[in-house]
Structure formats: structure tokens, C-alpha cells
Amino acid sequence: MAVPGEGLAKGLAVTLKTMTRRATTQQYPDVPPELPPRSRGVIALLEENCTVCMLCARECPDWCIYIDSHKEEVVVPGAARPRQRNVLDRFDIDFSLCMYCGICIEVCPFDALHWTPEFEYAEYDLKDLLHDKGRLGEWMETVPPPPAHDPNGEPSKEESTVAKKAGA
């Protein structure tokens, strides 16, 4: 039979032990958290890469991406006739609807969308969470380089592209 109060004493011993340790508190607003590069904070848009293929807007599970565009004719010197090019007029992501699944980034064939770990974009009004292409473009400079892959697995898309270019 156990001594009465033994369980309580054991618990208090843990408390005493913890008292001598440093607190695990992170001083958040003063010290920003270190987030891994894959962290899904906010989506950045590299406008130059976007061809208005609409894949992201179609694949989004809750349709929170809004895209408008128009066609422009570009005269290429030496070409027989002018080429047509899509010009992006509007690219909005509504972060009040976004579920942060990353499907849009995964399906983008031209790497126009990227995750960045930035998260400090809370708003007082829900409608201010609609980021236009200017705001989404501003996030681009916070996009971290992707982490290198485990050598046991396949190299990342970026690594293999570089290797291919170096070999060619």
C-alpha cells in the first residue's frame, strides 16, 4: 500500500524541479519566432511568371482566388505576325476564405505562387483580408529558399533543375 499523499508529493517534486528550470516562454512580439521555410503563412505572387492559366483558381477547394485578365498583341521583331499575350488585371486571394492547403501553389505550372512563413497580417475588418496582386507581390521578398532534401530521397525540383542546367 502506498504512503498517503505520495502522489501529491511526487507531483510537487515535479513542480519544484520545474521551478529551477528556465521558462520555455517565447518573447513573441520582441523576438520573432523562427519558422521553417515550408511554413504555410501567406501566399506570395510572382506576377511575371503568371500566364493566367487559371489552374489555381479552378483547383482551389473553396474558390478564394479571383483572376481577371485581357489579351494584348505583342509585335515581335522578325516574327510573321504579332503574338497574343495574356495580361493580368486582377489577382486577388481572399485570406478570410483560404484554407491554407497549398493546392494552388502545387498546381501552378510556372512557379508564380509561393508560400512564405509571414503571418502578421491580421486585420480588424474581414474584407481587408482580400489581398490584391500588389499586396501578394510584396510578400515575394519574404519567400525563403526551399530546404534541401534528405539525401536518401529524390532531390527537390529546384535542385534537379540546377543540376540539369549545369549538365547541359
Binding site: 502522489g7 511526487k10 515550408r38 497549398g102 536518401n152
Partner: protein, 381 residues
Amino acid sequence: MTSQLREMTVGTQAGLDTADMVLNIGPQHPSTHGVLRLKLVLDGERVVACEPIVGYMHRGAEKLFEVRDYRQIIVLANRHDWLSAFSNELGVVLAVERLMGLEVPERAIWLRTALAELNRVLNHLMFLGSYPLEIGAITPMFYAFREREVLQAVMEEVSGGRMHFMFNRVGGLKEEVPYGWTGRARAAIDAVRTRMPDLDHLIRCNEIFLARTVGVGVLSAEDAAAFGASGPVARASGLDLDLRRDEPYLAYGELSVPVVTRETGDCHARFEVLLDQVYASLDLAQQCLDRVDRITGPVNVRLPKVVKAPEGHTYAWTENPLGINGYYLVSRGEKTPWRLKLRTASYANVQALSTLLPGCLVPDLIAILGSMFFVVGDIDK
């Protein structure tokens, strides 16, 4: 309104004849982890009948599955039980892979097993913190969350998410793990393992905790089986059932999975099963990571842009942290399922409350409710 005034005496020993009182716990009650409503009939302090009323958080997940392709389904499957997101994704992709007859690369299988076990630890730590909190012990919560934070950092590094991992894909995983991740994951597991005794000593044998939980809310093995309860709740009643051992999926067949059981079936037994399962799962995750380090190769299968499951139906079930989750997938060869039925652990476990609660006292009610370990999102879907 009746014109006649009626006198009613309510309460214990207030008179010879006491009227039964109907009391609603919830739908917005802090100890129900969401919006579960319990309709209780009370005779004084004693519960005469209990009817769990579910559905306040119904989001129509199954119907939404029917208009989503298989990758979009993972987004939703992540969310019905928000504490076991990885295991939920896993069930969906296992069902689709089985229907398509896909062979998943070995490295992906072991990584999935490791991550599923880490997810189990995360889930159990949440309940190990919140259960004592519900019956008045605040401190274990801080210890549990300290450990959760360490493991969540590992999960975030690999998947980018802290709760909704979105890391499974049909045919494997989203991408390879970062360089040195297995080492850091192993370090995190070691850290949690060395600090788990803190949480253990703090609460497991605490006399006040024992007084609140031992012999309270006893669920017999027969009742547990009759209600289809599974997971820690059933194993605490002596129902020795664990799909990881009994019908192995992923890499569990090659691992020796220790099944933690208790015989008493009371609140304390349920808590202990959870606590001991954390140690077991940490060991399993470690073994999986050791294997991952020895296996080379891809972590996913190259698939066409549009994934279509062939016509047919299949049923996949997994041992989720809270119990058995089943996924009945019917496909008509479209890129969306024709039907994807969920059998969720919390739904079955919560049904047992209607036999567990009658006869108990109101102060014990929260102790029992908390020990059933459910997530309301998982009940209502």
C-alpha cells in the same frame, strides 16, 4: 401558457416527492470540447437518463467530398477531427490507393507510419492536458503543451502546417523530408520521452485525481463492444482490439505494436491507456525513423494530373488516435468519389454515454465526459 399556476419542488431532500429535472449540458459548454449537447434527466444530483444530441457542428463533409477531387478531399478530411489530421488524410488516401491498385514506395510507407505515430502522440498529449484541466488540475496542461510544441515544430518543418498537415497525397507523400529532418525528429522524440515522466508523476497517482476518476464511469467490455467503441476508450475496458496489430496497414505489420490495455474500464483506466500509449507511440515513431534512414528512393508515385479512381468500392479502416476510423469509398470512375462514407471513432464512442451516465452524479459527469476522448468535429463531420 397555462392559466393555472403549478407548484413544483425540485432538488434533493426538498420534500417527499421530487420531480425530475431536465437539464441541458451544452451545446455551448466549456467541458464538451465543442458543441455537443447532452440532455440529462436529473433526480436531484443523480443522472437518470442521458441523451447525447449531436449535429450542431455538422458541416456536410461527406457531401462535400462528392464534389471534390481526391486532393481537395484531403483538405476537408484534415478538418473533421482536427486533432488527428494526419491519420484522417491517411485513411482517405489508403482507400483511394487500394481502389486504384497503387503500390506506394517503401520510403513513403515508413515515413507515413512515423508521422502517423507522431500525430497520435500529439493527439494524446492534448487530452492528457485537457482532461485533468476539466476536473480542476490546470498544471498538466502546461506540461502537455510544452511537449506538443516540440513535436509540432517537427511536423511543421516537414509539412508546413501545425494542425492541418496536408502532407499525404494519393500515391505517397507531398514531398521529400528536408535535409537532416529525421535527426531533428529523433531529437524531439528523445526530448519528449525524457520529459514525459514529469507529466506522468504530476497527475497519474495524484490522490485528488484518483478520487475523482477511480471507479467512476465504468464501461464494461460488453457495452464498449455493443456501442462499437474503439481506441483508447475500448482498450481501457479490456477490449483488446488494435488495427495496427490485428489488421496491419502501412508498415505496422513489420513492427511489433504494443497494445496498451486496462481491465477496469473507469475514467482512470482510460487516462492511463492514453498515457502509456504515448510512450509506446514514441518508440514506434523512433523505429520507423530508423528505417526511413536506411531506405532510399522516392516518396511518391508519378500520377497523371487528374487522378481518377476506377469504378468500384472499397472500405479502408485505420486505427486513428481516438479509435477506428473507416472510409467507405464508392467510385464510378470519375475524378470525384460517388460517395465517401466516414465511420468516425468519436461518433461511436460518444454513444456509450447514454448507458455510462445514468446512475452517476452530476459532479462525476464532467469526469466521465472528459474521459471519453472525443472531438465534436469528428462526431458531426
